[in-house]
């Protein structure tokens, strides 16, 4: 079941435009005039392009597999609560998104281009104006509506079988930020050296979407806005509140950093209590799996059953089960271990 997760500090009336506090990168490549499907994956390798929606998967391999796809889906949903980076890129960087989209569509031979966007406020109507040639499909403002599997479920009507990749169904799903990066390389000749991300510090009402250089220490990003970060009381959550991880000041901006959210440490700490067998995890799972049963089996080592294998393959580690657990049991961490039992 998809859940609406309300984050008050991220519920801004307007999507923030992107700011560039750091020096702009310089042109390195000559840019691309014509798209040659045979050489396009090599071009992507040359600019160092990976999946920028969080996966970090090598895009050239994805494009090679997707040759012959019939639909290109631009994933601009950004269902992670508290982040608005995909929406911001779609709205304010449409020139590069369109360039990247056209290139990818030409490379794989896709006839139809669909923008998957979050149905919130008047975003859908604004996107329809910005991209008149593409079909804009609204998705509910719930988590995890932007998961690849669930997007395909909405577009094809049925949930794809466990372990299926979109190319097996004829779809190429690309994140909006990834397409912007491709567009930057084609139009401006800049490789993947910059990363749009959401920077937020709820305790001081700070919220901005910025473009930061890849490889910069996070310390520099915080210093650019003089955010009062204190390592004892704050923690930096990289790449979202649900699927992200904690980083320190000396860690660097990756190509897959979706956001940097500075939270207070104490409310985020969890003390694991015994399971009360309420079943909130099963009710909350968007795919209807049984997280606690899976976790019990992983802990006991009974991982060879067909039911366990099928459910574990299907799980995409969205983290809703951990978020709703009343006893604060770290389910998603154990499920991550369980993926190695496949």
């Amino acid at each position: 079941m998809l859940r609406r997760i309300k984050i008050d500090w991220a519920d801004l009336p307007q999507i923030q435009p992107l700011e560039t506090p750091f020096a702009k990168p310089e042109r390195i490549l000559p840019g691309l005039e014509e798209i040659d499907p045979g050489r396009f994956p090599d071009f992507l390798d040359e600019i160092g392009h990976v999946g920028m929606g969080g996966s970090g998967f090598q895009t050239s391999e994805k494009i090679r597999n997707c040759m012959g796809a019939h639909t290109l889906v631009i994933n601009g949903i950004e269902c992670e609560p508290g982040i608005t980076i995909d929406q911001s890129v779609l709205m304010y960087e449409s020139r590069w998104v369109q360039a990247g989209t056209k290139a990818c569509a030409q490379a794989v031979g896709a006839q139809k281009i669909v923008i998957a966007a979050k149905d919130k406020g008047d975003q859908i109507s604004q996107l329809k104006e910005l991209y008149p040639d593409y079909e804009v499909v609204p998705f509910p403002d719930r988590y995890p509506a932007g998961a690849e599997k669930l997007i395909l479920k909405k577009l094809t009507g049925t949930l794809p079988p466990p372990g299926t990749r979109p190319y097996q169904l004829g779809f190429l799903v690309q994140n909006a930020v990834s397409l912007r990066a491709i567009g930057r390389a084609i139009v401006d000749g800049i490789p993947v050296v910059e990363r749009p991300l959401s920077l937020a510090m709820p305790s001081t009402d700070f919220y901005k979407n910025i473009i930061a250089p890849v490889g910069r220490p996070i310390r520099d990003v915080l210093a650019a806005y003089t955010l009062p970060y204190d390592a004892r009381i704050h923690l930096i959550a990289d790449s979202g509140l649900m699927m992200g991880h904690e980083v320190g000041l000396d860690d660097r901006i990756d190509k897959t950093t979706l956001s940097l959210v500075i939270l207070e440490r104490v409310p985020a700490e969890r003390k694991e209590r015994p399971c009360i067998r309420c079943g909130a995890c099963n009710t909350a799972c968007p795919l209807g799996l049984h997280p606690y049963t899976l976790v019990e089996r992983i802990q006991k080592g009974k991982t060879t059953g067909a039911a366990f294998q099928a459910q574990m393959t299907e799980c995409f580690l969205c983290g809703v089960c951990s978020a709703v657990c009343p006893s604060d049991i770290p389910l998603v961490q154990t499920l991550q271990e369980g993926k190695t039992c496949l």
Partner: protein, 326 residues
Amino acid sequence: MSVANPFQRIGARSSGMAAWALLALMVPSTIYSLLYRSPFALHLLGYALLGMLTEAAYTWVLKRKMRLSNMGSGLTAALLAASVPTSMPFLPMLFAILIAVGLVKLPLAGAPLRLNAAMAGRLFLMLVYPSHIVNWGTPTADVISTATPQELYRSESFALEWPQLLFGRIEGTWEGLFLLVPGSPGETFPVLLLLLGMLLCWKGIMAWRTPLAFLLSFGIATALFGNSPLFDLCSAATIFSAVFIVSDPVSTPMSKGGKIACGIIIGVSNALIRNVTYYTEAIVYAVLIGNLCAPLLDRIAFEWQGRRLAKRMDSRAGVDGASSSV
């Protein structure tokens, strides 16, 4: 204390759940005590405290880490006290609480099969002190809890109308004898209990599937037997059981389908026992039957979900022969 994703939590936390449920239980009891000038609410709190002391003694004897709040056992003891007549003396209640908390609730805490502790305590009282629990005393102005409407219906052929039961007042010739609708004090005010149940669901403390399946299947099964479902729904602690006993997360299944199946089992068993046997308080047996089926229902739900997914995996692999990569 560790910090890991997700950093955002949703819904109720387990540390407050039993306290909220106890608070919800106190609302109708307090209203009852104020209206009829009885010390029932204080008795309830006293027995709840006794339950908490039992858990404290248990953890101390077993040399485990003592906790400050033993609300779960307090709730069990309070539910037990709310489902027996006020004429029950202290010693049977003491034994019942010791058994419910110390023999059923705490030792079965991590076990593969768990039973509802309040119902186990009540079963003990029904078996060992049957006179105190069934024969509810001669109705005089002093005794404020008497035979349940079920008992009245069978023995005296006096049928109360269900709207009177729902709102807790009797009009007519019997009003002078009874101060309120007969029954155990914890089971009065079904409307209030329903509203409290909905409030608990909305706050995320109570799961709604098992109680709803229980009430619906019980109503349908009673109607199939030819009796008015509304009368049975509003009498003899059905709503009380739905909100407090059947919704217990520990002893009922975890999965969505399992919850509904368990609710149906409890509802149908309750209707069967009430209509086929002479027992009027059938809920104890019905809930325990449901608890016995709970682990199997969970296992079935897990296997079915897994097999359904595995079948789609195989059909897809058969179509294009591609191997799945993680």
